[in-house]
């Protein structure tokens, strides 16, 4: 379910590192919590973003949630698919429904985030608190 080559944040975003480029999305757990996604607001290409700060929002029928970046860098691309089909976030959050690609300031930055096993333990604990 959770790709082992991704890194995860406590706010339920994932990042996949390919050299100096990081691809960012929200996790399957996040999409389940949000419910049907109806709109995604994303930054323009060229925007500088910082790890831990909000770069956009995901709006579902239940709520609007900020999306926090797992990494720092410059946005090089946003997923055009989501403008017309935001529901892809519900059906395929880890692959086709990525949100942005970031040219990383420091490719090692993501190493401090959780790996798949740690993240699954984290959401299992969160589920118990519910």
């Amino acid at each position: 379910m959770y790709p082992t080559d991704y890194r995860y944040t406590k706010q339920h975003e994932w990042v996949k590192i390919d050299g100096t480029i990081g691809t960012v999305g929200i996790t399957d757990y996040a999409q389940q919590e949000l419910g049907d996604v109806v709109f995604v607001e994303m930054p323009k290409s060229g925007t500088k973003i910082k790890a831990g700060t909000s770069f956009g929002t995901v709006e579902s029928v239940k709520a609007v949630s900020e999306i926090f970046s797992p990494v720092s860098g410059e946005v090089t691309e946003t997923n055009a698919l989501l403008a017309d089909a935001p529901e892809k976030i519900n059906s395929d959050p880890h692959v086709t429904a990525w949100l942005i690609k970031v040219k990383l300031d420091d490719p090692k930055e993501a190493a401090s985030l959780m790996d798949a096993a740690a993240y699954q333990a984290y959401i299992a604990a969160a589920a118990k608190d519910h």
Binding site: F39, K44, V64
Partner: protein
């Protein structure tokens, strides 16, 4: 929700939480000269009989028996008593924001109808539940263009209502928005030559009014084309909404900011009125204000709800599109009732009458030696004239004849002190127009 006053200790606690030592410190950004240091000078309580007397005296101050040729943003049009009778029903008059759709279907349906009518009449794809008035609608439209284009510079025609421009300047001052005003040509239209490629390429929007403050219709298609070529938007504002009965709707505009007063709302000493924002469907996320949408309930019945509320301040706080948290629901309803009463043919006929009477008045006035048209552009029910002497003096004389004269342009355009905008609507009779022309002739015949 209960409204209970705060105790002094609660007050201190709240001040401490935001780091202010006292109420004075909290309001320190308000200059001292604007601070009220004594109780409001209000008269003492009155008995019921005294209150009735007081309001009767105030009502007698109304200018009964005057004929008006004053437009300039507010228009006298025929209104039906049906409108007043319906909006005074308690269900509408005292209803609160229709957040709870299950018992606000009446209000929500009315808002939805209003939005539909505004789209039909402006040729736009989506309209909101209304804004405070035309001037705030225009300013919100400019801020919307700023968000859509990511540009903080706007080009505004000087032929846009001066008060609308003042409201825009007030907002712009504290938002880091640069406003540049563009002059007009002998036609009375915006000076297109001044809209250089360089300016347009930096501008969020070009703002024009049509019919403009001089009554002249702007030519929207080339303006839209020039703006769009440089990534800029076209915003059109309309103060005389009845013009849309015969004038081609502003379909080229990206955002329409309109004053809806002309749709059956009394001039009422300057307000309240009802503003309208209408735009393209693709811009709806950046449109400010409340929006009613159509849906189906659990049983499959057609119903209405407030929708896309995440643009609004009660949900999004500082990320909202605007700080407007309300709408002019009652006047939006009044405009809806009015338009439904007169219908598509009715508004066309009303507009044609305005045009015909204005043409007649213009011809009568132009027969007077020294009086001539100020601009060559096409007009609707307002037109600018140049007089051989100061309009202020002419108007003072007209008032003695129980005629409210045309709007003196010198107030806002120092170069046009001998110019005035005459407004003639369907409420003005032929005899009144003739009496007005005769009075002007008599005044100008008198030696200075």
């Amino acid at each position: 929700m209960r409204y209970l006053p705060k105790s002094p200790s609660e007050r201190q606690e709240m001040l401490a939480a935001i780091g202010a030592g006292s109420i004075d410190e909290l309001f320190k950004s308000i200059p001292e000269k604007f601070r009220l240091r004594e109780p409001l000078a209000l008269p003492g309580p009155l008995s019921e009989a005294e209150i009735i007397q007081y309001f009767k005296a105030r009502a007698d101050e109304n200018s009964v028996g005057y004929t008006s040729f004053l437009g300039a943003g507010v228009y006298s049009h025929l209104r039906s008593v049906v409108s007043d009778a319906i909006i005074q029903r308690g269900e509408f008059l005292t209803s609160y924001t229709p957040y709870q759709a299950e018992f606000a279907q009446g209000t929500l349906t009315a808002i939805f109808e209003f939005q539909t009518l505004m789209c039909q009449i402006t040729g736009q794809e989506v309209a909101n539940a209304s804004m405070y008035d035309g001037s705030t609608a225009l300013t919100e439209a400019v801020l919307m263009a700023e968000r859509l284009t990511d540009r903080d510079y706007v080009l505004v025609a000087r032929s846009v209502h001066p008060e609308y421009r003042q409201v825009l300047h007030t907002y712009a001052k504290n938002l880091g928005l640069k406003v540049e005003e563009i002059g007009f040509t002998e036609s009375g239209q915006i000076d297109r030559a001044a809209l250089t490629q360089d300016k347009l390429s930096k501008a969020a929007a070009v703002v024009v009014q049509s019919p403009n403050f001089f009554g002249v219709l702007e030519d929207l298609p080339p303006l839209a084309e020039a703006a769009h070529a440089q990534g800029s938007l076209l915003i059109t504002t309309i103060t005389e909404a009845v013009s849309l009965g015969i004038v081609r709707p502003p379909v080229e505009a990206d955002i329409v900011a309109m004053e809806g007063q002309a749709f059956g709302i009394a001039p009422s000493y300057g307000g309240p009125y009802v503003g309208v924002i209408a735009t393209r469907d693709k811009f709806v996320r950046q449109m400010p204000g409340r929006l009613a949408g159509q849906t189906t309930d659990a049983a499959g019945n057609r119903g209405f709800v407030l929708t896309l509320a995440t643009r609004e301040q009660h949900i999004r706080r500082e990320k909202a599109t605007s700080n407007i948290c309300t709408n002019e629901a009652l006047y939006a309803l009044a405009a809806t009732i009015h338009l439904c009463l007169i219908g598509k043919e009715g508004i066309r006929e009303q507009a044609l009458q305005n045009l015909a009477k204005a043409r007649f008045a213009q011809a009568e006035l132009e027969k007077i030696p020294g009086v001539r048209r100020a601009f060559s552009g096409r007009t609707f029910n307002e037109f600018a004239l140049e007089f051989p002497r100061s309009v202020k003096l002419i108007n003072a004389e007209l008032l003695k004849e129980k005629i409210v004269g045309p709007f003196s342009l010198g107030v806002n355009y120092p170069e046009l002190t001998k110019n005035a905008v005459v407004c003639v609507t369907e409420t003005t009779s032929r005899a009144e127009i003739e009496r007005f022309a005769a009075a002007v002739r008599k005044i100008l015949d008198k030696p200075l």
